[in-house]
Amino acid sequence: MSRFPEWRAGLISLVLCLAVLSPAAAEKLGIGRALTPEELKGWDIAVRPDGHGAPPGKGTAAQGEEIFQTQCASCHGEFGEGKDRWPTLAGGHGTLKHDRPEKTVGSYWPYASTVFDYIKRAMPFGNAQSLSNDEVYALTAYVLQLNDVITDPKFELNAKTMQAIRMPNAKGFYDDDRETAEKSFWNRKPCMKDCKKDATVLNRARMLDVTPDSKSGPKVD
């Protein structure tokens, strides 16, 4: 008797198994349920530079200043100058080539939408997503005014006007080019023997003395 039918039966069951088990199978798993617009509305908070996701609402820098003094100034300072180690929000224009650049909303951030998006999702620190859209527009306007991006305290910031704002450093970014700009790091044949005459110590971390002592580590439960 030919063994062919047996072999064929085996193949068929193997194919069936693969169809059921393979993650690559194109059929839908039928897992998860349709997301409702109401559910999405509560969580869909991201705002893009082209206005995608920008909610209805409006605010002015004048309105934002009041909110800023009560909600933000304790960390960021009255004029966004930053307190202790909390971020500085304003200033630093023209410092990006300096030895110690100051990267602020005005000197560094490429898009106004990011200010809105970040305040909306993460600020005030420890009380996230507590501000209304009008309040976030107003705060965004105030932070932009602190950076001289807008000058009229009565300028109405909304989804449309925010999209039209051009930030001073908008053209200051380019996509990662390491694989071309740092091509010399590839395919090197590094020296293994008698590579240099001297190796002298140029600088020592201990001289700075900023390493926490082991005693300052977190306590173990």
Binding site: A26, K28, I31, G32, R33, A34, L35, E39, L40, W43, D44, A46, R48, C75, R85, L96, K97, P101, K103, V105, Y108, W109, Y111, T114, D117, Y118, A122, F125, A128, G172, F173, Y174, D175, D176, R178, F185, W186, N187, P190, M192, K193, D194, C195, K196, K197, A199, L202, N203, R204, A205, R206, L208, V210, T211, P212, S214, S216, G217, P218, V220
Partner: protein
């Protein structure tokens, strides 16, 4: 129980310990000092042969003493530590993996470094949801139960914070392997390929980028190209076999193999498919690398090949002359580590290290050099090669291309100076 060896081990001051261990000199070479710098140079004679120690005579703890086991009390010093002056608050901060105290390639869950931007969210998995919407045929919402019914896979990958070694751009600053290199860990993840979820919703041809968002109070968000999402990202719920730790994103996190840690969104709650990136806070004001011409690179996703000698290092000085084990870790966001070179004389001469244990794609890889130490001063460096032919550059080679204000992606070669006392420190050399 008043034996000296049963007392809580006080972490000795490094100087004090070194003095003691070096004073006992070569004689200690034959003693069991293999536990590292924390092991006493000589044990309590009451517990050493021919004496019979107490633990040999009396019963130990029963099985139920620790329903969830923990390390020996003699390992209490092996903990994550932070640098308080680095950040304004501990909720938006970082701590570091004690690399010098670990071996092999897997990082224990409780020692994986933490980086939070709004504290670690504590989420009941019954209340966790993942939304998937945007440019898809069918917007979906998943429960944890749903995700656990999908085809899953296991992958070992390193996660490195883009800011690892970021404090060292201007020169040797932190005298510690834990603080210079400890923003990396290596874990086996169990999860569902992101592609499975995306296929379930059906990505439209215009879908080119994903926004991935966390449920924490920072609402952490990043944009990820669709090619990467489809290629190898996971939606993971287990690490090293057990549920994710709270501080690592319980109950659900994104795994983005080889790419900077900031993209590995913890407490993953939402994925939106779009036609372009979102330019979020974390991919504009942070995680962009400022170059000398005042412009900045953006979307610097991949972690370049890097290595570090973990022993000896400032926290793990040499204590014994004669035979010693140099140990270290190497990794690359582009592939595997086929080779690591090590020098003991500041780069005059190099030798190939012995790679041991699994060599996995975009995973930490362990290397060793077994060497004799006669008490001479050493200048130790390691240099990783990856499977794409990339060779880890020196810090000065990096600075020549990128300047001093990159903050992120410092993968330059690290130098440790081992003094004749065995004391080891972070230096830069000519």
């Amino acid at each position: 129980m008043a034996d000296q060896s049963d007392e809580e081990p006080k972490r000795p001051s490094r100087r004090g310990f070194l003095t003691a261990s070096v004073a006992s000199g070569v004689a200690a070479a034959t003693a069991t000092s293999a536990l590292g710098q924390q092991a006493p140079a000589a044990g309590n004679p009451k517990n050493l042969p021919p004496k019979i120690p107490s633990w040999t005579q009396v019963l130990g703890d029963g099985v139920a003493k620790y329903p969830y086991g923990k390390p020996s009390k003699y390992e209490k010093h092996v903990v994550r530590r932070d640098v308080e002056w680095l950040t304004a608050s501990r909720e938006s901060s970082i701590n570091f993996t004690p690399l010098h105290a670990l071996d092999g390639i897997i990082t224990p869950n409780g020692l994986c470094f933490e980086r939070h931007h709004g504290g670690a969210a504590e989420i009941n998995p019954a209340d966790h949801r993942l939304m998937l919407h945007g440019l898809v045929d069918k917007p979906l919402i998943f429960t944890m139960g749903d995700i656990m019914r999908m085809p899953r896979t296991n992958r070992v990958h390193f996660l490195e914070c883009a800011a690892n070694s970021g404090m060292e751009w201007r020169g040797a600053q932190l005298n510690s392997c834990q603080f210079t290199h400890g923003m990396v860990h290596n874990v086996m993840y169990t999860g569902v390929p992101l592609k499975v979820l995306l296929d379930e919703a059906g990505v439209k041809p215009t879908g080119k980028w994903l926004l991935v968002e966390g449920a924490d109070s920072a609402g952490m968000t990043r944009s990820i190209p669709i090619e990467k999402a489809m290629a190898d990202c996971l939606v993971a719920f287990k690490m090293n076999g057990e549920a994710l730790r709270t501080e690592q994103g319980y109950p659900l996190r994104l795994v983005v193999p080889g790419w900077e840690g900031n993209l590995w969104i913890k407490w993953l709650r939402r994925i939106e498919v779009g036609d372009k990136p979102w330019f979020t806070h974390e991919e504009t004001s942070k995680y962009t690398t400022l170059m000398t011409d005042g412009r900045a690179r953006q979307f610097t996703f991949i972690m370049d090949a890097k290595s570090v000698v973990t022993n000896p290092s400032p926290e793990a000085p040499l204590s014994v002359k004669g035979r010693n084990v140099l140990s270290g870790l190497a990794w690359s966001g582009r592939g595997t580590i086929p080779r690591v070179d090590v020098t003991l004389d500041g780069g005059k001469n190099w030798r190939e290290a012995r790679i041991d244990g699994p060599v996995l794609d975009r995973s930490l890889t362990r290397f060793y050099v077994d060497f004799d130490w006669k008490g001479e001063e050493l200048l130790i460096q390691s240099r990783a090669h990856d499977s794409t032919g990339y060779v880890q550059p020196t810090k000065d080679e990096l600075r020549a291309v990128r300047g001093l204000n990159n903050i992120y992606h410092n993968n330059g070669i690290q130098t440790w100076l081992v003094r004749s006392t065995g004391e080891t420190e972070n230096v830069e050399i000519s």
